[in-house]
């Protein structure tokens, strides 16, 4: 394969490429949000768009999330396909009425007679000491409410394919990208997120997880940054002679419970990695998917490597103590290895 030229993109570039390609073929697609125009997005994911498409289709907004996310709902119901950015997911507090009570519910209220084809993209994650209002993932908060699809890519290939699928979808899709995977040097970037990404159009199906490493002794389930922790843990476990399978959820809604169950049926052990708060969230839901289906496949109690139930601390030493990592996953495995 050495003669095949790789085309490695960061997630930021993959997102921008998807949006640009879609905007070229569909006039109804437009982008709005804070600093997504001239600046190109704080996380680089709209870079180059305003130069190509102009201010009419790439709209810098005032700092008015209620108005412009509400406007995206109204535009989507009126025949457009808006992509709207909530700069930090932590800012959901100022606009959740539009997200939870309009965006997510209007298709249902209308009995399916109204479509809401919009993408709400938003940055998640910490690890760079930005404190408790700029570092959260809150995956569970979004996945909990019915009516929104929720995706979270771990690499550029999936980022582009999921964005294409999200723009084409007639239902609202929340697209949660992790700051530490964007390829922005100043945030510190996980290298594994920058992967070969085809230039041509393709989609990654929403609601379909991927087995990114096959194994037979334990299943590590994660999303976003958690997948990379899982892959590193799998390497470390391999040195111990343990074969770990790693599942990248890619979508939270719909959740691919079949892939999770099939993997755990094979390995008999389950560790869930989640940078969102541990309680009442993704990790519990993944475990429930397995145990309510068939508890007999388990050889050991399922484990969680999730964010402890505390606001995210500022001091680097405290934040790093709280975050999931490969060592914690290996320790979790060793605790149930017998």
């Amino acid at each position: 394969m050495s003669n095949v030229k790789e085309r490695k993109l960061t997630i930021a570039k993959a997102m921008a490429e998807s949006v640009a390609q879609y905007m070229r073929k569909d006039e109804k697609v437009f982008v709005m949000g804070e600093d997504i125009g001239v600046l190109g997005g704080v996380y680089g994911n709209t870079r180059g768009l305003i130069e190509e498409f102009g201010e009419e289709r790439v709209r810098d907004t005032p700092i008015s999330e209620t108005a412009f996310i509400g406007a995206a709902v109204g535009a989507a119901q009126n025949g457009m396909r808006p992509i709207v950015e909530l700069m930090f997911v932590d800012f959901f507090g100022v606009c959740f009425d539009q997200i939870y009570n309009n965006m997510a519910k209007n298709i249902y209220f209308s009995g399916g007679n109204v479509k809401v084809p919009m993408v709400l993209m938003t940055s998640t994650g910490g690890g760079y000491s930005d404190g408790a209002q700029h570092s959260q993932c809150v995956y569970g908060t979004f996945a909990h409410l019915p009516g929104m699809k929720v995706v979270a890519p771990s690499n550029a290939y999936d980022a582009k394919g999921l964005m294409n699928a999200a723009i084409r979808d007639d239902s609202p899709v929340v697209y949660m990208y992790h700051k530490g995977l964007q390829g922005m040097g100043w945030l510190g970037t996980e290298r594994g997120a920058t992967v070969d990404t085809p230039e041509e159009y393709y989609e990654v199906e929403i609601g379909k997880a991927a087995v990114v490493r096959e194994g037979s002794d334990v299943t590590i389930v994660g999303l976003g940054m958690g997948v990379h922790h899982g892959l590193k843990a799998a390497e470390m476990l391999a040195e111990q002679g343990v074969s770990a399978e790693v599942v990248d959820l890619r979508s939270l809604v719909p959740l691919d419970r079949d892939t999770i169950r099939a993997s755990v049926a094979k390995t008999g052990r389950l560790i869930v990695v989640d940078e969102d708060y541990q309680s009442f969230g993704v990790s519990g839901e993944v475990i429930a998917s397995v145990v309510e289906h068939d508890i007999s496949v388990l050889k050991a109690a399922p484990q969680r490597v999730a964010y402890p139930d505390v606001p995210i601390p500022f001091a680097r030493i405290m934040e790093q103590f709280c975050l999931p990592n490969a060592e914690k996953i290996v320790a979790a495995y060793n605790g149930i290895a017998v």
């Binding site: 406007a71 119901q77 009126n78 699809k149």
Partner: protein, 328 residues
């Protein structure tokens, strides 16, 4: 801008349809709710917010609208829906929770969606403002002629969404008309107690858009002011804020004892009911004769009766229909 004879008669007829409709809904709503009032009982359960008295605000504005224009309505939406041309039978079925309702019974009376006439609705104060801005943006970006009307109560002018949405509509010069129906009550809290400024139209200045106050709950005066605002929007000159003085003749919802109203207020409002007033005005101005008005009244009543009968005769949804239509 004066309404034509046809427009005057349409406004009158639509006001009567709306009032007879609210009366019929109120009667159906009370079935099964006495002697003990329990909101969950009867053929129309849940909360019920009636628009009696506010009809001029609906017809004076909607007389200027076409199906491609959008309206975002409030939790008190029936008059607005009727004036916008929402399918009355399907709307009634929705209010009765029937399978052939606008949303198949999933929404109810605060969540009426009719995409054929671009009508949407929401139950939370100030929630329709952003979507109206978006509908207007969509029309502008597609080079289509439609405009958007966001209805709100005077209480919604104190929501953050009001500030954000008016600013956004103005900074992007979008074809939106924000219409405040000022009935002077936010449930039990009077406007005097809740609002720092006497007249909300003055707030338009803060967003660099025209603002206009229309006193008197008069359909002709509302028609004129709305006509100007809508023409301004259609010409590409941006949004307007209209403040319409109106009256809530019913309680906030059915079951509201209205003990907070000053003595005599309700009687005074009823004596100033816009419907008999407008009827007499049209007769005095020789727009229509007494007998022609009688025919309009009868036809309005039968439209309402048909819609209610249609809803009553319609099938309930299957319980498991609750699990569908989450996604498009």
């Amino acid at each position: 801008m004066q309404p034509t004879t046809e427009q005057k008669l349409w406004m009158y007829e639509t006001m009567v349809v709306s009032r007879r409709y609210e009366e019929a809904i109120a009667a159906a709503y009370m079935e099964g709710k006495s002697p003990v009032f329990n909101m969950a009982n009867g053929p129309v359960p849940g909360e019920m917010h009636l628009s009696n008295g506010q009809e001029p605000c609906a017809v004076g504005v909607c007389a200027h609208l076409n199906p491609e224009d959008s309206v975002t309505a409030t939790h008190r939406p029936h008059h607005q829906a009727i004036a916008k041309g929402v399918n009355l039978k399907r709307m009634t079925s929705e209010i009765f929770g029937k399978a052939n309702g606008l949303g198949g019974g999933r929404g109810g009376h605060m969540h009426l969606f009719d995409p054929d006439v671009n009508f949407t609705c929401s139950g939370i104060i100030g929630q329709g403002l952003g979507p109206a801005v978006g509908a207007a943006l969509s029309q502008k970006m597609q080079n289509k002629p439609g405009i958007a009307v966001a209805y709100l109560g005077e209480g919604a002018a104190n929501q953050g969404a009001f500030h954000e949405s008016l600013n956004l509509a103005a900074v992007w010069k979008l074809p939106v008309v924000f219409v405040i129906e000022d009935n002077s009550w936010g449930i039990s809290v009077s406007k005097k107690k809740s609002t720092a400024i006497e007249r909300n139209y003055l707030r338009a200045a803060g967003y660099g858009m025209p603002g206009k106050f229309v006193p008197g709950n008069d359909p002709i005066e509302i028609f004129k002011a709305a006509g100007e605002a809508i023409a301004h929007a259609r010409a590409g000159n941006g949004p307007t804020l209209l403040e319409l003085e109106t009256s809530r003749l019913a309680g906030h919802f059915i079951g509201d004892a209205e003990g907070y109203r000053p003595e005599g207020e309700k009687k005074a409002l009823e004596a100033n009911d816009p419907i008999p007033k407008f009827r007499q005005q049209l007769i005095d101005d020789s727009v229509a004769s007494e007998s022609e008005m009688g025919k309009i009244d009868a036809s309005a009543q039968s439209r309402v009766d048909e819609a209610i009968a249609h809803a009553r005769a319609s099938d309930d949804p299957a319980p498991e229909d609750a699990l569908s239509s989450i996604f498009a």
